[in-house]
Symmetry: C2
Subunit: 637 residues, 2 copies
């Protein structure tokens, strides 16, 4: 059963289709102590003046300003003190020319007075005060209503209440205020493969991410999420869940239906219950999004992949929820950046790429995070996303792009860019260093361009027989140091008991053995190919001929732990990677050799790099070892 | 009793003094459905792979990629279908060369398979599937652990949980998570003059603003506010309130003590209870800030003026509260802008000026909002503030400044800059137009510079005897229209019953009459001075001689309603202003004349201006009237 998208709409069309249904909800009364973040449902008209009376802004003497003219240190003016007023008190006297009333800061000004002389410029004795400095009318006085005047619209309808607006309400004596009701948003996840977090995961099952990620997104947008939970792929169950959700909430979000059958179910059931507004958006990811109006309420069917669901929430649903609260469907905050790596367009669809921002002080590089559209971790690492227009085939490295931010961007103090190492990663985490994993060569280039303070690198140069340092020289990276870190043990991983009896790389050529590999360009793959080349020569084969015999040689996975997982779950008999990953999965490990993993750092970051190295070297897990340059500067240029 | 500030500290020193005491609080367990905005108290290590198995990302056939090499529309490859897997199912078959297993999107990949052919490129009949397109290894497969690998640090300690991180937790099957306890912040307001909002306001009393504005600020910074309420200026009561607050909370904020006596009380009591960390900051506003450590807990004494208290909260307390939650004391978001009006430095202290931002698309003008330091409305209108360094005497108009934002800046769609009119203000509010009130001349200059879309103007040109249009020509403002709006009635306001028997401006010269005036440069003042000049001539006096006889002639207040308030409260017998304000306060009104109030608009805004004019003219309150150009274009150039 295949879904046919008849009329794909653009992101803008999808967004406007919903906004047409965004009428603000009713209002409710809340105490101002609970009103933070709420939105006013009507104008607030001041019933009192703020301040309610003319106040002195200093400690001093209230006077008729004209009495003080000509006063100076040498020619003080003498005034008769006719009374005193404290803050919170009320003056019963009137001040005339030649008279003064002592006032405290915040005290009401007596009738007739139009200025206050600061106490610093006075001297009182026996009911007479000497004034050593003249004041102008209005000086040191905050006049009644000058902050807010009674009758004025002090706050406007649709204002979101922050600390400052709540201050205004308190100043007006307003204790409770009419605010818009927050939209209640029911959230349904669909799919037979889903299991709720906290429960054990059966075979073939995945945890339900969307219920929780969407609930948090709804809260972030000012809505009240209502978790319905997981609904199975059954038209009856589906319809009942939708009807219940519609009766108790203002908006319904259904996610799932990544599988064609489920998407079709959503489309069919919503078509029966109401009017489908659109079905399919010209965007990648997010094409299978649909929306319907059922009895005036909006139901949005979001993609099942969490990252797709969140990107579409951000671009289509969030503006709608804001508008329901009378807030501008705010254009996402954005910064300009240059692309660190080229990205492809999506052939007639708009493409959204999550990116990590690197940079400080207004000059940014955007590192696209490639991943299958299901990857939630990618989104968690991203600062925002770039949009590649429909008609663009390729955006090259260095092109200026606009990065739309998920949140306010907080530049990191320190950037690590390079190859992933689990032991190092934990140390970076403890120091709150932002890490972007793009491989050794990517890290070297990032240091050269000044984007990274530090790179993690493990690349072997067959010409010199050395790791890492030759590349710093070949790429002519200046003002950097290479800090020797450690060697990591590489090898083959097999299930406990080694059921296939694997002893070395020769065994990978056996027809009964399924292998899982690392990608070209990784240090691990380079090592495997070197050893495989040697084995091939012994067997009288070329490397290519040997590789062609290996079942799964071209099955490349991105991390050491993904290799271990494939073996642990029986999808492969043997894989290649670091010992650390093998031990994590309780696998047996057949050592192949050691490689050097070093830090390449900007000179200014040398001290921090040495500190990190010292910490890591003081507690090396199995599969790691020191070598002659560990903790020492290997190269400085 | 005067406070002596012995060692004033800088803002940075004040901030660091607190940060030294910022140790993260303990942790607590929360459900991920409630975890939005919370901060992780420890690293989250993945216990499972995400995804937990190799998944198909499409509907299609799982194959050994090498089986499909050479397949095309013309030369399809035929594979034997050996099984089917649904999403949520589990494959018991193994795929070999020449075989295929049908898979749904999200279904687990069978052992041996390393790629999936999309159903679009296949045709199945009688257990055999024709493949019309080859696939590469890994194509349409999301491999186990490729998103998150078991054993990996998936989220780091001190991460603030947004929708995306909560998605990661759900994907890992984590239902409850350890987060940092939020800081409990007790808030005390001091001052005998304070009354709680919601209660009637006695004479000489003000509503307590700081309790509520600070509570919202605390919530905004992730803390839990605890309102203690108002404490009177008494050492014993003060000490008891502090002790109770310290026992129940992590941090205490006391505001008030603007009056010297109270500030001294705070200093003395805190000095007895613990160690005073600093007393006085070199900043304006905010000098009388102090902080103490009592039993390891921080107490901050904030200024009593709400706007001062909030600015110091923003610069000193907020970073501390964030750090208590293990969050970076984030530098406030900032934008560059050019100053619209010059501002003065604070003679050796750093000066903070609230500003309104005007502009779109990266080019901003910052309008300083002048006000006494007590003004809360000013802060509510401000987008952020500019900092004038200690050693700068004056920052001139046009200088580039950095505006530190209170919140994310949202550019308005339409800017009104000019003179204040209460009837117009309400119409702007209904349209969500951002209004900046800087007087008629300021408005004209803002239109000329292109910052304002519209200005409200009422200035009389004695040379031509005309209002407004002569100034548009004199200032050579191009591409603008002047839309005639209405005339406003100006006059004298007296208490009901007119106890002093005032009939006209001559009566202002009587020695038993106290007057309250509008500032020089306003249309109202210009009218009064014209009439006063005529009266003086009749009496054989100059204008200056006549003015010198008026008690309160130099007592100028900033708004029409402030004039009315002064009369209503008996601080003056008579004032001058628009009828609208007099009626608001139930005063009697003695008409003096009418003035023309017009809109000066950019050509592109003409239609909107005519629409606003039509709306206002359709419902004119008393004190307003149409004139020949009302609702029509008076000048277009």
């Amino acid at each position: 059963m295949r879904v046919i998208f008849h009329n794909l709409v653009t992101l803008e069309e999808a967004s406007s289709a919903l906004l047409k249904f965004a009428k603000p909800l009713g209002s409710e009364e809340v105490d101002i102590a609970e009103a933070y973040g709420r939105v006013l449902s009507r104008d607030v008209v001041a019933q009192v003046d703020v301040p309610p009376f003319d106040r002195s802004t200093v400690d001093g003497y209230a006077v008729v300003a004209e009495s003080t003219y000509g006063a100076s240190e040498l020619t003080p003016v003498e005034l008769k003190v006719v009374g005193r007023v404290e803050a919170g008190g009320w003056p019963n006297v009137e001040v005339r020319q030649g008279e003064a009333v002592e006032v405290a800061t915040g005290a009401p000004l007596p009738r007739g007075a139009n200025a206050v002389v600061m106490v610093e410029y006075t001297q009182e004795r026996d009911g007479v005060v000497k004034i050593f400095r003249s004041v102008a009318p209005g000086e040191n006085v905050m006049s009644a209503g000058s902050d807010i005047s009674a009758g004025e619209v002090a706050l406007r309808r649709c204002t979101r209440l922050t600390a400052r607006e709540i201050g205004v309400l308190a100043a007006l004596g307003v204790k409770t205020v009419q605010v818009l009701r927050r939209p209640r948003v029911a959230i349904i996840s669909t799919g037979n493969e889903l299991a709720p977090p906290g429960a054990p995961l059966g075979v073939g099952k995945l945890y339900d991410v969307n219920s929780y990620a969407l609930a948090a997104s709804v809260a972030e947008a000012g809505g009240v999420p209502e978790l319905v939970g997981i609904v199975r792929d059954d038209a009856g169950e589906y319809r009942r869940a939708l009807e219940a959700a519609l009766s108790s909430s203002d908006v319904v979000l259904i996610s799932g239906g990544t599988s064609a059958g489920v998407a079709d179910l959503t489309y069919r059931v919503l078509g029966e219950m109401g009017e489908v507004l659109f079905h399919g958006i010209m965007v990648k990811p997010g094409k299978p999004t649909l929306a319907a109006a059922v009895g005036g309420k909006i139901v949005v069917g979001l993609p099942g992949y969490p990252s797709s669901a969140l990107m579409i929430f951000h671009t289509v649903v969030r503006p709608f929820l804001l508008k329901l609260q009378c807030l501008e469907p705010d254009p996402p905050a954005a910064v300009k950046a240059s692309l660190a790596v080229g990205v492809e367009g999506a052939k007639g669809r708009r493409a959204l790429y999550p990116v990590v921002l690197v940079g400080r002080g207004g000059s940014y590089r955007a590192y696209p995070l490639y991943a299958e559209s299901g990857a939630i971790s990618v989104l968690a690492r991203a600062d925002g996303y770039v949009v590649v227009p429909e008609n663009v085939e390729f955006l090259a490295e260095g092109e200026e792009v606009e990065v739309r931010l998920f949140e306010k961007y907080r530049p990191a103090e320190f950037y690590f860019i390079g190859s992933h190492d689990p032991h190092l990663d934990a140390a970076l985490a403890r120091r709150n260093i932002k890490a972007v994993y793009v491989g050794s060569m990517g890290g070297l280039m990032a240091v050269k361009r000044g984007e990274a303070d530090m790179a993690g690198v493990h690349v072997f140069d067959p010409g010199s027989g050395l790791y890492n340092t030759p590349f710093v020289e070949k790429l002519d990276i200046r003002d950097v140091a290479v800090v020797g870190l450690y060697e990591r043990e590489q090898g083959l991983m097999v299930q406990r008991g080694n059921p296939k009896g694997v002893r070395g790389v020769e065994d990978l050529l056996r027809p009964d053995v399924v292998f899982v590999n690392r990608p070209r360009g990784t240090g691990t793959r380079a090592l495997l190919d070197m050893l495989l080349g040697e084995a091939a020569r012994r067997l009288g084969l070329t490397l290519e001929e040997a590789a062609a015999k290996i079942r799964g040689y071209t099955h490349e996975v991105k991390t050491h732990t993904a290799v271990a997982a494939a073996v642990a779950q029986g999808r492969a008999d043997v894989g290649v990677g670091v010992r650390y990953a093998a031990e994590l999965y309780g696998l047996e490990f057949i050592p192949l050799g050691w490689e050097q993993y070093d830090l390449v750092v900007k000179r200014g970051a040398l001290e921090k790099a040495l500190e990190i190295a010292a910490e890591l070297l003081s507690d090396l897990p199995r599969g790691y070892r020191r070598y002659e340059w560990s903790g020492r500067v290997k190269l400085l240029r």
